[in-house]
């Protein structure tokens, strides 16, 4: 039998799918064309370095599935961007999946995920 996720976890993922669908306009997401670099273990969830990359992409949206509000950032690349790559530092409330969805040059969408184990949560409260 499958492991049943806790209710809160399932809700968070339902939110996430709705948000991704908003970004993609409901289009299917492929697996190739976008990468995310994040640490496997983040001791401090207040500032977790991530890098997203999607050659030729017009935009990359990043979501933290297990945060109280999953959206993290959307990077839109202009004509003067040399590579469609960006790094930043994000807050993660707890151990969770960080998801990147890119709109590729041909208009299709790709999605990838990185699991980050968080020792100390980063959303206060």
């Amino acid at each position: 039998t499958a492991m049943l996720p806790a209710a809160g976890f399932a809700e968070a993922h339902a939110d996430l799918e709705a948000l991704i669908s908003e970004f993609t306009g409901g289009a299917e997401t492929g697996a190739d064309g976008v990468t995310i670099n994040a640490p496997e273990i983040a001791e401090n969830g207040n500032t977790v370095p991530i890098e997203v990359s999607a050659p030729g992409a017009t935009a990359i949206a990043v979501y933290a599935a297990g945060n109280p509000t999953p959206p993290v950032a959307t990077f839109r690349f202009g004509p003067m961007a040399a590579a469609q790559t960006a790094s930043t530092r994000i807050r993660l409330a707890r151990t969770q999946d960080v998801v990147a969805v890119a709109q590729l040059a041909d208009g299709s969408f790709a999605r990838t995920v990185a699991n980050v184990k968080v020792t100390i949560g980063g959303c206060g409260g």
Binding site: T69, R76, A81, A82, T88, I90, L92, G125
Partner: protein
């Protein structure tokens, strides 16, 4: 306007024509998430920078929509093309309507 907001950007002062350069930006800002509570249990209202843009000679390099999950003192690193001598312009937009700007010239 949040207190002590200070943008810092790192851009090479010169490049060869067509070179791809790395830009790093940091702006001091508390990025209050709206999730935290004060000692009395009241929610501290959200107050963040919600957008960051970089342009070169009026053409866009990157335009970032930022949410409360971006860490205190938002940091961004990205790349840009440098076809000619010109100016990079950096703009941060605060929830409270404040706009913070910085610029750097680069010589080809």
């Amino acid at each position: 306007m949040a207190d002590n907001v200070k943008p810092r950007v790192k851009v090479p002062s010169s490049a060869s024509a067509g070179e791809e350069i790395v830009i790093k930006t940091l702006i001091s800002h508390p990025m209050e998430s709206g999730q935290r509570k004060d000692s009395d249990g009241n929610v501290i209202p959200r107050s963040i920078i919600n957008r960051f843009t970089c342009d070169f000679n009026g053409e866009n390099v990157i335009d970032v929509t930022m949410e409360p999950a971006i860490s205190t003192n938002p940091y961004f690193e990205f790349t840009a093309k440098v076809p000619e001598t010109g100016e990079f312009k950096f703009t941060w937009y605060d929830d409270d309507g404040s706009v913070y700007e910085d610029s750097k010239t680069i010589t080809v």
